[in-house]
């Protein structure tokens, strides 16, 4: 035997034994952490007014359908805040920071709406778990959505839909909705210190980038966990269940889902409006990367012309940003938002007819670019209407429908309007989003489906002194809140401005011959 073997074999053997001993010693000296999370029993004064589930188990987050993977509450000291994630992921943070996801739990519009609802019922704060489950899951999962807040606050809880809320998801139920997501938020924490995490990022991937999580959050079904909303007796006065937000189902049943175009493809494209145009042209290639901007339709929350009033509406400045940077990011996202809105709809003329003293025509409101209905989401507040002006040959206005009173912030009550109505127990419309007393849902006009159109027929009286050719000016308007909400709930004089989605003019000849 070579001496090298005789000399080194014992060394290698002894070292291996020593190594095993060291490893066993390490395991003994540094035992694994206890199961993460907090037990229900360890949250003093936590109210459970809704009773247990069918199996007799407590439902700590009900009426929200959100769950943690291990069934325990989140420990607020351990939830990673987005500002922490920003240390290593500044690009993603700055994409996300101006988005509505970032302020979902803290913007004043939302906060006032929740407070107004909470005041309606003695268990109002606990009912608000329904709202907070989607808007501020950190608050609900930590046990702070409770009349007695015995859980410590943390930045992460105030951040709305932050990084960990998506990047620890393991399950979504888009049919159940109402926050039907399971988050491994207790397990989703880094177990290594920052320097060693950089050497061995696999632990970070375990916490926030598990294969199942990455696959799930790339699907439209994941978005449906929150972007599907139904009301039931646990938090409203409806009988049975009533659909309120059906964005996921609208997409699921559309051409877009059938052709593999997901929510993320449009709303996380670096330039969503350009991507919509690309899809409309027939090119279904995926975006080159997915940006965390989640560009949507709320133009009001990006109106930097409001100055510091916008800061009021948005609930302050997000932790981790200066005012100047916050404004800069908001302004940039505002441009993308407005561009996206303008890429969604179109108007077309669908036939016209001149009869004695009457002018009849149809305007098709077309959904050209949205993978869901127009409008969609919280459509008791977010509504759309058609403004039509008919002028005669002299330019005189002979008909006007859908005017907007900018002084009082009111839409023509006779306008053709796409809106959902919340109805109270007395049959009266609730214009200011008081969900907890909503007894029924009705639709003035249901949304225009993806790649579909809704033709609105007009029959206009024409006086004898009005002569053709006639011109029809059509504008499709969108508004994110009713004036009643701004006044009654937000308690401001702010007139919620409408946004023009699209406009068109059509010439109607004077005679009857060519008018199809």
């Amino acid at each position: 035997m070579k001496y090298q073997v005789r000399d080194h074999a014992p060394l290698l053997a002894v070292s291996s034994v020593l190594c095993i001993a060291l490893l066993i010693g390490a395991r003994l000296l540094w035992p694994p952490p206890p199961e993460p999370g907090v037990d229900l029993a360890d949250i003093p004064y936590y109210q459970l007014p809704f009773g247990p589930d069918d199996a007799g188990l407590p439902r700590p987050f009900w009426p929200s359908r959100m769950q943690t993977e291990n069934g325990r509450f989140a420990d607020p000291a351990k939830i990673q805040s987005a500002a922490d994630c920003a240390i290593c992921h500044p690009r993603e943070f700055e994409e996300w920071a101006p988005s509505l996801h970032a302020i979902a739990g803290r913007d004043t519009v939302y906060e006032r709406a929740v407070e107004a609802n909470e005041d309606l019922h003695k268990d109002g704060i606990e009912k608000a778990r329904f709202c907070e489950g989607c808007h501020a899951p950190g608050e609900v999962l930590a046990g702070r959505t409770n009349r007695f807040k015995s859980v410590m606050p943390s930045d992460a809880e105030t951040e709305g839909i932050s990084c960990v809320m998506c990047h620890t998801a393991t399950h979504a139920d888009p049919v159940e909705g109402n926050g039907a997501l399971t988050l491994a938020i207790n397990e989703g924490t880094d177990r290594l210190s920052n320097p060693l995490l950089l050497a061995a990022p696999r632990d970070h991937a375990r916490a926030f980038g598990a294969k199942e999580t990455n696959a799930l959050i790339a699907k439209g079904d994941f978005c449906g966990g929150c972007h599907t909303e139904t009301y039931d007796t646990s938090m409203s006065k409806v009988e049975g269940r009533q659909h309120v937000q059906t964005t996921h189902a609208e997409w699921r049943d559309s051409w877009y889902a059938g052709n593999g175009v997901t929510c993320q493809d449009c709303h996380m494209a670096p330039d969503p409006a350009a991507y919509v145009r690309q899809i409309r042209s027939g090119d279904l290639a995926k975006p080159e990367r997915y940006a965390h901007n989640f560009v949507g339709a709320n133009y009001l929350m990006f109106n930097t012309g409001l100055g510091s009033n916008l800061t009021f509406l948005r609930g302050g400045i997000l932790p981790g940003l200066s005012d100047a940077r916050n404004t800069e990011l908001i302004a940039r996202q505002g441009e993308a938002t407005r561009a996206l809105l303008r890429s969604a709809a179109g108007l077309a003329l669908r036939g016209s007819e001149v009869a004695p003293g009457r002018l009849r025509f149809g305007i098709a409101v077309q959904n050209l670019g949205a993978g869901h209905n127009l409008p969609t989401g919280v459509i008791d507040q977010k509504y759309m209407w058609l403004e039509v002006v008919v002028r005669d040959a002299t330019g005189a206005e002979i008909y006007h429908s859908g005017a907007f009173d900018a002084t009082r912030g009111e839409t023509d009550p006779d306008a053709v309007i796409w809106r959902e109505d919340f109805i109270d127990a007395d049959g009266e419309r609730i214009p200011d989003h008081l969900t907890f007393i909503t007894a029924a849902i009705s639709h003035v006009r249901t949304g225009v489906p993806p790649k579909g159109e809704d033709v609105v027929r007009y029959d206009v009286a024409v006086t004898s002194d009005a002569t053709g050719p006639f011109r029809v000016e059509a504008r499709l308007w969108y508004r994110v809140a009713t004036q009643e909400f701004a006044y009654n709930t937000l308690k401001t004089d702010l007139v919620i401005p409408p946004f023009e989605l699209t406009a068109a003019e059509f010439a109607l000849p004077a005679t009857d011959e060519a008018r199809q």
């Binding site: 080194h8 490893l23 390490a26 000296l29 035992p31 290594l192 320097p195 060693l196 050497a199 696999r202």
Partner: protein
Amino acid sequence: MDYRPSRPRIGRSSLLSIAFAILLGTGLYLEFLADANWNAGEVVLAGHVVLGLGFTVVFASWIGGHVRRGLRTASRQAFRRLSWFLLTLYVLLVATGLLMVLPTTLYLVGVLWFWRFETTGVLTFVHFWGALAATLALFAHLAMRHWRLPMARRGHEAS
């Protein structure tokens, strides 16, 4: 041929063997068992990194002389090929290890930079399989005859 040192001592090669065994053991632990307990795993990882850096320093100071001696004394072609292969594996191990701790080093001096996740996957893959291959190659390197038999004995074996 026996050119072992004339007196017993803990030389650099001995240190390297000890370190290699511990590095292999801790590396296998990190790969397969650390997930269950990262409290201990963090200590093991820190130890693996520190020991690995120590290994690198000692290896770098020793390998030059060892290769020169080997070139003089190792006449068996298969052994020489194996040795170069082993050296390549060690270089890969050290290089991938240093690349993996580069972000940590930069962080400690105040610079934040890190590899793409896919890159760390590649580095880990090469480091892990390189370690296993180096283990086998090391045993072969230690045990394998490295000299050519005298002509007479070669003739005797052939017949």
